[in-house]
Each structure stands twice: as C-alpha cells, then as structure tokens.
Subunit: 341 residues, 2 copies
DNA sequence: TGTTAGCACTCTCGTTCGTTGAGTGCTAAC
DNA sequence: GTTAGCACTCAACGAACGAGAGTGCTAACA
C-alpha cells in the first residue's frame, strides 16, 4: 500500500518535528507549525491510519506519535532515490575540510574531525587494509647524535618513519648510498618479502646490522599495521547533547562500543560503494539500541574505505548525507592525486 | 595545630574509604573496615574535632563525613614529601608505554593513551613550543606520478613531511642532489629564516618553483605549529565512570572544557619542574568544579613539557603520582636519546 | 581524663498517592 | 470527508510519609 500525498506530508512533518524537538508530536502541533489547512481531528484520523500501517509509534496513549523505524526508512529512501535527493556538494564542509588538511598521515583524522564537527554527531572512518602494498622508496635522513630517520614510502603513498641508531661515521652521502642500495634491492617487493630478504641478508653479511634491523623492524610493523582495516573515531562526546542519552548508563554503553574497534570495523566494512543509511536494528550493533549509521565510501589504493556518522535515529538525514558524500569524494580525490597542498 | 597520630590515621582512613566508595564515611565504617581498636563513639569525637579543624565536611547532619580540600592537601603533601612518597617506578606503566611506542610523532599521543588507560582518568599532555628550532636535514623522497615526499628534520628531532608535486623528469638521484643543495643552504637556520631565504631565492631564480614553494610552505607550517605550546587529551570518556559526573550536565561541562585547548594549556603551563598536585580551586578552572590535576614534567629540546591527569578530587593520588612520574621520565629519556626501538 | 553505651534527633531517600495536563479516540453534526 | 465536543487515559509532578543511616549529647565506666 502506498501512502497518499497528504499522509506523506503529515508523516514528513512528524519526522521533521521529532528530529528537531525529540518529543512525541501531537496533532495540534502539526496543524499549528506546519499549517496543513485541516483541523487537528483530521490529522488525528490520518495519524491513526499511519500508526496502523506501522509508520508511527505511540509511547503511551496520551502522548503524541513518534516515527517508527519504517517511517525513517521511507523518509530516507525518498531522500536517496527520488527527486528530493540532496544534490550538490556541501560547500561549508568542503571548505572546513580542505582548510585543515596538512599532513598526509592526518587525512583520516582530519576527515573524522570535520564530519563530527559539522554534523554534531560521532564520526567513524574506516581505512581499508593494504595487504599487497609494495615498497616504492626507502631513505635514511641524517639526524643528530648518531641517529638517522628511516622513511619508507609505499606504492600506495603510505609513509612511515622511525628513528634508528647508526654508526656516527655515516654522513649524509653515506646514508644516501645505503638508501639507494636498499631501494634498488627492495623496491617493488611487498613488506613481508622485504622482511624475509633482510633476514636472509643480515645472516650472511657483515654490514651495519643496526640499519638492516631497523629497516626490517619498520617493514614488519608497517605490514602489521597496514594489512588490516583500521578505524578511527571522533566526536564521541557529541552524544551527550542528545536527550536520548541523558541517561548516563546509555551514554556509557555508547562510548564503550566506540572503544571496541572490532565491532565498528565489522559494521563499517559491510557498506556498499555508495551512500548507505542503516536505521535501528539494520546497524547490527544491538548494544547501541536505536541508532542510525550513515556511511559514504571513498577510494584508497584500489580498495574502498568508508566514512560515516553514528547517532540517534532522530538525525537530520539530508544534511548528514550531503556532508558525508562531499567529504567522501574529497578524500577519494586526495588519495587519488596523492598530493595535498 | 598539628594532628596527633590517631587523628591522622582516622583522616587517612576516611580519605581511603571515600576514594574507594565515593559516599560519605560514617564512624561505624571506620571501626569495622580499618579496625582502629576504639568504638564508633570515640571515632565520632575525633571526627567532630577534624571537622572543626576544617579537614572534614558533612553534606548533612545524618550523613557521614567527606574529606575537604584541606584534607586532600595534607594527604598529598604527606605523599610528596615524607617517607610515604611513592618511590620507585611503575613497572606496569613503563611496560605498557614502551610496548606501544613506535612512531616518533606518536610519542605524545601514546603517552596520553597509556596514562588514561592505566589511571582510568582523563590524560593531558602539553608539548612545549620550539620557537628556535633549526633545520637539520631536508630530503626529497621519490613517489609515484610526479610527486615527491618532502621530509624536514629539525635539530630537536621533530619530523614533518608533506607530498609535493615535482617535475616527473626528476629521478631519485636528481632529487637527492636538490636535497643536498637545500640542506647545505638551509641547515642551521630557523624555519622563519628558511622561509625568507626561499622567498628571496625564488624571486630571482628560474629553478623549479614547485619544489621551492613546497619547502617554503612546509617550513611556514612547521614554524606555525611548533612555535606554540600544544596540548593533547585522551580518555575523556573515563569521567562517566565516576558518580560525581552521573549528572549529564556536569559531564558535558567537563567535556566541553576538554575541547577548549587554551584553558588547558594555561593550567598545564604553570606546572613546575616536579610532580605537582593541584586540588579543587587550585586547578584554576572554576568551570570544572571540584577536580584535581596531577602533573609530571618531561624534558624536550631544552623546554619542559607536562603530562598529567584530570579527574575528581577523589582519586588514588599515590598510584597516579607514581604512574605519571614514571611516564614523564620515560618520555624525557626518549626525547633525549631521540631513538625509539 | 579518655572511652563507651544508650538514646533522642535529624535529614535523605524511596514509596505512595492524588492532581494536573497533554493528547487521544469516538460520536454526532456539518 | 471534515470538524467540534467530550469522555478517557496515562505520564509527570509534587506532597506526605515511613525507613534507615548517622550524628551529638549525656552519663557511666576504667
């Protein structure tokens, strides 16, 4: 059964009002605030129908109505498909985001911050693992006091560095020669291969073991860190601003789920290649109760990452969708061009 | 007036019990749990004296007693000075911390995480600004698709990188030559000097402006970021576990103070070169109400940073002090040696 | 003089019980 | 199909009240 025009308008008004006020919506409120041109009694009849159809819930008989999961689903589907889709980019979001990006390594963190700041919700970002990442370059940069900074760059543009101790006879040129040799040997190999090669070489070589082991250890660590999907979270504190979480127990439950990265990863991984909205039980984290998760994809080195927000089912879906898809696209571009400023 | 031995024991017991249970302590509790060898009535007389002296407060006449700020002050002073000082390192903390340190840039973040995880309180770390930081080395590392990773290392061991676009005719050797030239020119100069030199040079040179501008921009950005003290925060969510913050309004007030870095900086900067405990109004953030701030210093490039925890006045000061001073020392060592693994 | 038992007293906390008010569903009239 | 009217329901709020924890005081005791 499809809803007629007036029922849709009423349902939409109820959702809008509830998203704004967080309290059950009565028939008089609808007539006053959203002047429908009909009396409260008429609205009541329609609301009664909508409740029968499963679009509205009634906390108790003398309260107003609250949108059900099904209502949000309908509302969001209209947003995502029909002509109402929030087209166009969120200029504010784009500006906010690009202004703050500086370091390559910070893109994910910055994106999460931007999203949580703009939506006042908790932001989640999933970075896809890069198990087949290969070494592109490797360089030793001199540092004071017999140390050197080892920088490894991979073909997907991931940079990692660590400080290792080296013989203090090695000057900039000597370090460059070693870097060049190591790059020639290891470039094009995966991190695990590099580890094996270095182990084998170190065993029968008399060269400076500290450099070799330093490279080996960083490669191992990079392989470990980068082969699995990772997730970062920002803006968890926003949840306290919602009356749904004025109960400290609920707030704590929410925050403790945010600490368990595994669960977050599993729900973020299941996102498709487009903007996805999951409502209530669709989220798949029953500890959270009634939450919604909106995610947008971004591309990184052949895989898909996901950026999203998690919050009460009562959220301004249109704005959230627009912000997320804008930021997602911006991230895809950044990772694609591998250039920042 | 100095407290006699028994009064001290009773006061100490009250503090211990209150730190543990968060509820006012009655005379019977003291006799039962901390067997004092005297009856509740005697304890009551002593408690009455302690209240008169300002060491105890009574929320209302039929509740037990609660330690006052003055009581915590006495308790902490005994910890910090006398023979009761929590000597020795916190092995657990040291292990937890060193296990997790990998990247040089992450030391601060890792330290904050370790502290908040170990103490179950909110951790704060202040990094002192390095306004006179000088360039030590500068290197361009080849990356795919006409890009290069620019790495600047300063004499205090700060590493920063960014990706810049370069002519795709530049191979590893060419980039090294440029790096060498730039290093020779700029090493030993401050970041601001480097910026001016590059501006002047770029104006009259026909060399690849993109490289010069890339270096310039990173130098400017490093100067901006590093000349001011910075602060990072971790574990704000722990506050919800304390009944003092079961009121959502209070929790929100706390979290919003944690968002205002300026205020945090000003209180962290005022720490001395030793472990400092500030209790209640001594903290200097009246928005927080009754909090305590414990800080330990660490050394970084000639300046002093500060690592601390912020939580309810009711906190296990001995453990917190031991953990913080251990981590502070570990950080000093790490920054001093400029080596990690 | 310090310690202790006994007891009246105080005050919070949780419960119960009306009262109030928002909002509904139904009926009858338009 | 719409609307006014009205009885009805139920959460929220506040007052009243009993239970319990803990105190201060007094008088007896070592």
């Amino acid at each position: 059964m499809v809803l007629d025009e007036r029922k849709l308008r009423i349902l939409s008004a109820i959702i809008d009002d509830y998203v704004e006020t967080a309290s059950p919506v009565g028939s008089r409120t609808i007539t006053r605030k959203y002047n429908m041109g009909v009396s409260p009694a008429t609205i009541r009849n329609e609301m009664s129908d909508l409740e029968e159809l499963g679009y509205l819930d009634q906390p108790h008989v003398s309260a107003g109505r609250v949108p059900s999961t099904k209502a949000y689903r309908l509302y969001v589907d209209m947003l995502l498909s029909g002509a109402r889709r929030p087209i166009g980019e969120d200029r504010e979001a784009l500006q906010y985001f690009t202004e703050r990006i500086t370091q390559m390594e910070d893109v994910v963190q910055t994106a999460a911050q931007a999203v949580s700041e703009l939506t006042h919700l908790t932001a989640l970002v999933m970075m896809p693992g890069q198990p087949t990442m290969r070494i592109a370059t490797l360089q030793l940069v001199p540092m004071p006091r017999g140390s050197a900074l080892l920088v490894i760059v991979t073909d997907s543009g991931i940079v990692r560095d660590t400080v290792i101790r080296v013989s203090d006879q090695l000057d900039m040129d000597a370090l460059y020669t070693i870097s060049r040799m190591l790059t020639e040997t290891l470039a094009g190999h995966t991190l695990r291969e590099a580890q094996e090669m270095l182990d084998a070489y170190a065993a029968r070589s008399t060269a400076d073991q500290r450099v070799l082991m330093g490279v080996r250890n960083l490669a191992v660590q990079m392989a470990r860190q980068s082969s699995v999907d990772s997730v970062s979270v920002d803006g968890t504190h926003h949840i306290l601003n919602y009356p749904e979480y004025s109960d400290v127990e609920k707030a704590r439950a929410f925050l403790s789920v945010m600490e368990t990265r595994d669960k977050l990863l599993s729900v973020l991984r299941s996102g498709s290649g487009t903007v996805t909205v999951r409502i209530g039980s669709e989220v798949g984290l029953e500890e959270l109760g009634d939450c919604s998760l909106v995610t947008a994809p971004f591309q990184l080195g052949g895989g898909f990452g996901s950026i999203g927000v998690l919050g009460p089912m009562r959220m301004p879906y249109d704005r959230v969708i627009r912000t997320l898809s804008t930021i997602g696209q911006a991230m895809t571009e950044i990772f694609g061009s591998e250039e920042i400023s």
